[in-house]
């Protein structure tokens, strides 16, 4: 039997396979590079970057909930300049696409970062307009369709990089937000970011996270994510990278059927550092069993 074609062309960004790792869950590749061959991953979305270095929120920053976790890291990162100088050269050695996840407090900040990164070897920008763990910017942008349009358009004007807009699930109509990002000039959408959650210590009668609330991820969010990918894929004409609770190949296949062109793995890395490779292998086996010759044939094949 012929080899299955696992490559995907996301309207300009070509990945050698559709399995990527999600921002904030893979650092800058160094740590998990000890466990997986980074050359085998379709793309790496790096830890969310901000213009200036950020120390993040106080600890505790994590609480486990039934089949999920809530984090309140708060975008701790060394800043975009440090990333370009100290981390990007290391990442660039690998045969994988690099997605720079960027976070601004204002549209100007997003644009400044986009400009800086335009002059580098990153393959794509991912606008995070959906981080629930910071006071300004973040999710406040992601909830307002007009703001989403505007920030997307401004960044597009200030950069010639491939542009992904990452959507927040913490909205009442995600289709509308997806459409706004598309009309602003996004080349691709990624969804979902974390759902806002909270965990309480009933003995102390206090929240467990120092900051009270945080972002819920992991298997618990998968049904929400699959639904949102399905809805948005019907509403837009640009490709979607689907994520949220993917723990294995079966979860990933659900996302492809729902309309995702590629998938991203986040929390599952924490549980099993080799999970991305196992998901990739599982998808290939499924395609073989179902007699597909390429991953593209699976996208949006949900029968309804």
């Amino acid at each position: 039997m012929n080899k299955i074609d696992m490559s995907v062309d996301l309207n300009g960004l070509v990945l050698k396979n559709p399995v990527t790792v999600a921002s904030g869950t893979f650092g800058f590749g160094r740590e998990y590079g000890e466990y997986v061959d980074l050359n085998k991953i379709g793309a790496i979305a790096v830890k969310g970057l901000t213009l200036e270095e950020r120390q993040g929120n106080p600890t505790p920053r994590v609480v486990e909930t039934p089949m999920g976790m809530i984090n309140s890291v708060g975008l701790q990162n060394p800043g975009v300049d440090y990333f370009i100088k100290e981390e990007l050269p290391n990442l660039s050695q690998y045969d994988t696409k690099i997605i720079a996840n960027i976070n601004g407090n204002t549209i100007e900040e997003y644009c400044k970062m986009a400009e800086k990164l335009s002059k580098t070897s990153v393959d794509a920008l991912e606008l995070n307009i959906s981080c629930p763990n910071v006071k300004e910017g973040g999710v406040a942008f992601g909830r307002d369709p007009e703001m989403v349009h505007k920030v997307t358009r401004k960044v597009k004007e200030n950069s010639d990089k491939y542009l992904i807009v990452k959507l927040s699930p913490n909205v009442s109509d995600i289709k509308e937000i997806g459409v706004s990002a598309e009309s602003g000039g996004a080349d691709c959408l990624s969804l979902i970011n974390t759902l806002i959650g909270m965990g309480i210590d009933i003995e102390k009668q206090k929240p467990i996270l120092a900051r009270g609330i945080g972002g819920l991820s992991g298997p618990a969010v998968k049904p929400v994510a699959v639904r949102m990918v399905y809805e948005v894929s019907k509403a837009v004409n640009i490709p979607i990278i689907g994520m949220g609770g993917i723990m294995n190949d079966k979860d990933a296949i659900e996302f492809f059927l729902a309309g995702a062109w590629a998938v991203s793995i986040g929390t599952a890395n924490f549980v099993n550092p080799m999970v991305s490779m196992e998901v990739l292998k599982g998808i290939e086996e499924y395609l073989k069993r179902k007699e597909y010759t390429s991953i593209k044939e699976l996208v949006g094949q949900l029968k309804f």
Binding site: G24, G27, Y32, G56, R61
Partner: protein
């Protein structure tokens, strides 16, 4: 390349109420193990995240941990039976650094005594005093005595050894003897006190601290702690940059 290790449980015994000593096969892949390093263990499929547990004993063919039933994850771990397979990442983190100084104090509190056992095994050439503190029932004391003559116990309820805090014993020792370095692991409130005393007596210290973790390998940044740096305060990762830090850099929670 590193990978998950699948280790058969060789022994699981309750050595004190709610405290289990679990020994597992030292499969290929563990490599060298430094005292103070930890394992990230999948306690059961009922939970998503792994739990960090210090390595307490290393032998040629086995690795031992001592676990306190703190919540549901560690309770499920303690329920695992001999012959079952544990899914383990590790050894992770940096361990204790064996210092040049000859006169050493090793001071542990509660479950924090566990990693210090493997440490004292590696301090053979030194003059070592071990101070162990517990709320009530002591454990591992005899195991420490296999390596060190001078082992003192404190219990808060007075049921064994000195009645009171183990840090009182530390003060007495520093009053009377020359000490080059203090190694410590225990609850935060105790470590804070150890840090204070070490500063007061101008003695170096290495402290093994705890933070809630997710990945355990340095990728997610949920486990950060504050350390002093040239330009003020810095957030570093407990799992990768620690869990052992120099006592004069760690900044504990307010």
């Amino acid at each position: 390349m590193k990978k998950n290790l699948y280790c058969k449980i060789l022994e699981n015994i309750e050595i004190a109420p709610s405290i289990h000593k679990i020994e597992m096969e030292r499969v290929d892949g563990f490599g060298d193990i430094k005292p103070g390093q930890f394992l990230h263990i999948k306690c059961s499929d009922a939970y998503l995240l792994r739990r960090p547990i210090s390595i307490s004993m290393v032998q040629k063919d086995r690795v031992g941990i001592v676990v306190r039933k703190a919540g549901e994850g560690t309770s499920l771990l303690c329920d695992r039976k001999k012959g079952e397979i544990l899914d383990v990442l590790g050894p992770l983190g940096n361990g204790f650094t064996i210092d040049e100084g000859k006169n050493v104090i090793v001071i542990g509190g509660g479950i924090g005594t566990a990693p210090l056992l493997e440490l004292v095994k590696n301090l053979k050439e030194k003059q070592v005093t071990v101070l162990l503190g517990y709320k009530d029932t002591p454990y591992l004391v005899e195991a420490f005595k296999d390596y060190v003559k001078d082992v003192k116990v404190a219990t808060e309820d007075g049921s064994a050894g000195y009645k009171g805090y183990v840090t009182d014993l530390l003060k007495t020792k520093l009053e009377n003897d020359k000490v080059d370095i203090i190694y410590s692991c225990g609850p935060e409130i105790m470590l804070k006190k150890v840090q204070e005393i070490a500063t007061e007596y101008k003695v170096k210290s290495q402290l093994s601290i705890e933070e809630r973790m997710a990945c355990g390998v340095g990728a997610c940044l949920v486990c950060t702690c504050k350390v002093k740096s040239e330009d003020g305060v810095k957030h570093v990762r407990t799992c990768k940059d620690g869990p052992v830090f120099s006592g004069d850099e760690v900044m504990f929670h307010e």
